[in-house]
């Protein structure tokens, strides 16, 4: 029983990692007043760029850099449309998702000739599992040893990075000057403008951070969790992250728990399949698949309470002119 729990939690960490990164990315964007439905597209785009980079240059780190770069470019396009030209945030985001879904496959077909996939990555082209110090020695210690060796050790570096990003984001958002201005821009851009700070520049910077985090999430998908790019491999993770962001009320720590909950439900769903429950027989796949979503609706309706978005989110900032 305890072993099963450890295994499920272990899977939770793996599945939640891209959600955490993407949700934090969305947090920076939305806290600055930019609705970012294009998280999905950025993840997919960077997953492709990372896998392509890793395949060509033979290094997962170069792949990661390529992924982050691609994601930042997409974020800046979104910013150019929404900040500079005051376009509709949703339209721009959807456009990015659609473009990326087609472009990745087309470029992949042209560059690698493998039907939009990248070559299968191996060795240095992937982020491999890290064994934490003393993990092997502690393996036989009951409970604590198991938790340390089987649950905490043996993930790749991006998993640890994702979890470190949560306190880092908390610190940046609540304890730094940039964070204060970022939050202010999302709530009341006029006040920020009055103080002589450029609203556009703050929002662009928020989007760059958003791009970096999405880029890491995408690289995780194609060069760490899987070994190569496949079309549509992001499989709705960007939207899940957006849901987690709202679930966590745009605050780093609750967002982390929302992502972990989604990941855990996913892990449970995988584990529960084919298990015979007394009085019910074998649980049908469909019921298990729907479980995370039903629970989300119930929790949102019953326990979380009102989720209030940043006040100026989705609204382009127009300087008043006399």
């Amino acid at each position: 029983m305890f072993d099963t729990l450890i295994i499920m939690l272990d899977a939770t960490l793996r599945v939640s990692t891209p959600l955490i990164l993407a949700a934090l990315a969305g947090l920076y964007a939305e806290r600055s007043g930019i609705v970012d439905i294009g998280l999905e597209g950025k993840i997919l785009g960077s997953a492709f760029a990372a896998a392509a980079g890793a395949a060509v240059f033979g290094s997962a780190w170069i792949g990661l850099a390529c992924g982050v770069l691609a994601s930042i470019v997409l974020a800046l396009i979104h910013g150019f449309a929404c900040i500079t030209h005051r376009g509709d945030h949703i339209v721009s985001g959807v456009a990015i998702n659609t473009i990326v879904a087609g472009l990745t496959v087309t470029l992949g077909l042209d560059w690698f000739g493998m039907g939009g996939q990248t070559p299968t990555l191996s060795g240095d082209q992937r982020f491999t599992e890290i064994t934490l110090p003393f993990a092997d020695a502690l393996r036989d210690v009951p409970v604590i040893g198991q938790i340390y060796s089987n649950l905490l050790s043996g993930h790749n570096i991006i998993v640890y990075l994702a979890f470190l990003m949560v306190p880092a984001t908390y610190w940046i958002i609540y304890k730094t000057r940039f964070g204060l201005r970022l939050r202010a821009v999302g709530e009341n851009p006029h006040a920020v403008d009055t103080a002589g700070i450029s609203v556009a520049w703050i929002r662009y910077r928020a989007l760059i951070v958003c791009g970096i985090l999405c880029g890491i999430a995408g690289a995780y998908l194609s060069t760490a969790h899987n070994a190569g790019f496949l079309k549509d491999m992001s499989a709705g993770k960007g939207y899940m992250a957006l849901a987690a962001l709202i679930f966590g009320k745009w605050r780093p720590v609750p967002v982390l728990f929302a992502c972990l909950l989604f990941g855990f439900l996913d892990a449970v769903a995988v584990r529960l399949q084919g298990v015979v429950i007394p009085g019910m027989g074998e649980v049908p796949v469909q019921l298990i698949e729907v479980l995370p979503y039903v629970l989300t609706v119930l929790l949102l309706a019953g326990f979380i309470g009102k989720a209030v978005a940043p006040k100026a989110v989705g609204r382009p900032y127009v300087k008043e002119r006399a």
Binding site: G115, Q117, L221, N226, A235, V285
Partner: protein, 330 residues
């Protein structure tokens, strides 16, 4: 004289139109895409072989969503492409509709049955091939636990799982077979991340050989097996080359041969409508043994499998077909 002349002209016209029709073959892949390294890619291989031999290009169409399947079929039929090969069970209703509207166009449906005078349906006895790889998995397994990962939860995929289970139990009656399905929509055939999670879950439950009948999802399953140092069995195409030393074998479904034969027959004017069921006896399904997995399969195992295969063909072993009664009681 005039009568003869007319008859000749008609015959010429007919032969020209037949030859013309045969020069315009087309194929519609299913949503997993033609490079899924599995089912669709098998069809693609068959087409490449045909194109190489005959020099005739095959018009290809890859639908992006379900709505495009019927549109694509209809457009190809309208432009006079014939025969049109429709790949996969998801096209059944679309082929039914479009074939009715274009009685002069020949359709070949792979993996499902439509009973119309201008449709050829090709189905496979997947349960027989799965039985063989099940037997192989049971011989290779050290833990006495093997796994099956299906794509979309439909009777066709359950048929693979049921045959696999029977094969395992035939060799080792006390072995455990863990069965998982990836999902309940077409996307379940293209979700390697979920596939790798399902495989990891099965490994943690003791499985050391997994069989994936899940299209593109299988790529994640095989990767997980390679990372964990366990064995995996591929499906549809020969996937042994994906991870040599990890891929124990592949349950090969000769869709390439089916597609190739269809075009070849059509070119020779020998295309016939009706139902074709291809099993072990017809070489429609088999297990794959090549340089990539030779070291994993001992001569003893090979001999045993040959024996089982012969027994299935002769009818001494009856493999239950899940789709005959939607249960796996055998």
């Amino acid at each position: 004289m005039k009568g003869i002349f007319l008859a000749t002209v008609t015959a010429l016209a007919v032969s020209v139109s037949v030859a013309h029709a045969a020069d315009k073959p087309a194929v519609v892949y299913d949503q997993a895409g033609k490079f899924d390294k599995s089912f669709n890619e098998g069809v693609y291989d068959g087409i490449m072989k045909y194109t190489k031999e005959s020099g005739v290009k095959v018009r290809e169409f890859e639908p992006k969503n379900e709505a495009q399947v019927e549109q694509g079929l209809r457009r190809l039929a309208k432009r006079g492409y014939s025969p049109i090969v429709a790949v996969g069970f998801t096209m059944t209703s679309s082929v039914q509709k479009v074939a009715k509207d274009f009685p002069n166009i020949h359709f070949t449906l792979i993996d499902s049955v439509v009973d119309l005078p201008n449709v050829e349906s090709i189905v496979f006895k997947e349960h027989e091939g799965s039985f063989l790889v099940g037997a192989l998995a049971a011989m290779k397994s050290k833990t006495g636990t093997v796994g099956f990962i299906g794509g979309m939860d439909i009777p066709l995929v359950r048929k693979f799982g049921c045959g696999f289970e029977q094969g395992v139990k035939y060799v080792a009656p006390n072995d455990t077979v863990i069965q998982n399905m990836t999902g309940s929509t077409g996307a379940a055939f293209n979700d390697p991340t979920k596939g790798s999670e399902l495989a990891k879950s099965q490994f943690s439950q003791g499985a050391d050989v997994v069989f994936a009948a899940a299209g593109g999802t299988g790529i994640g399953v095989y990767q997980a097996a390679a990372d964990a140092g366990h064995y995996a069995i591929g499906v549809d195409s020969n996937q042994n080359h994906l991870h040599p030393g990890v891929m124990l074998s592949s349950m090969v479904k000769r869709v390439d041969q089916a597609a190739y034969n269809t075009f070849k027959e059509a070119a020779a004017g020998e295309w016939k409508p009706g139902l074709q069921v291809l099993g072990l006896a017809e070489d429609g399904v088999d297990w794959a043994l090549d340089d990539n997995n030779k070291s994993l399969v001992s001569a003893d195992m090979e001999a045993k499998l040959a024996d089982i295969k012969a027994k299935i063909i002769s009818g001494d072993i009856k493999v239950h077909d899940y789709m005959s009664d939607s249960t796996c009681n055998y």
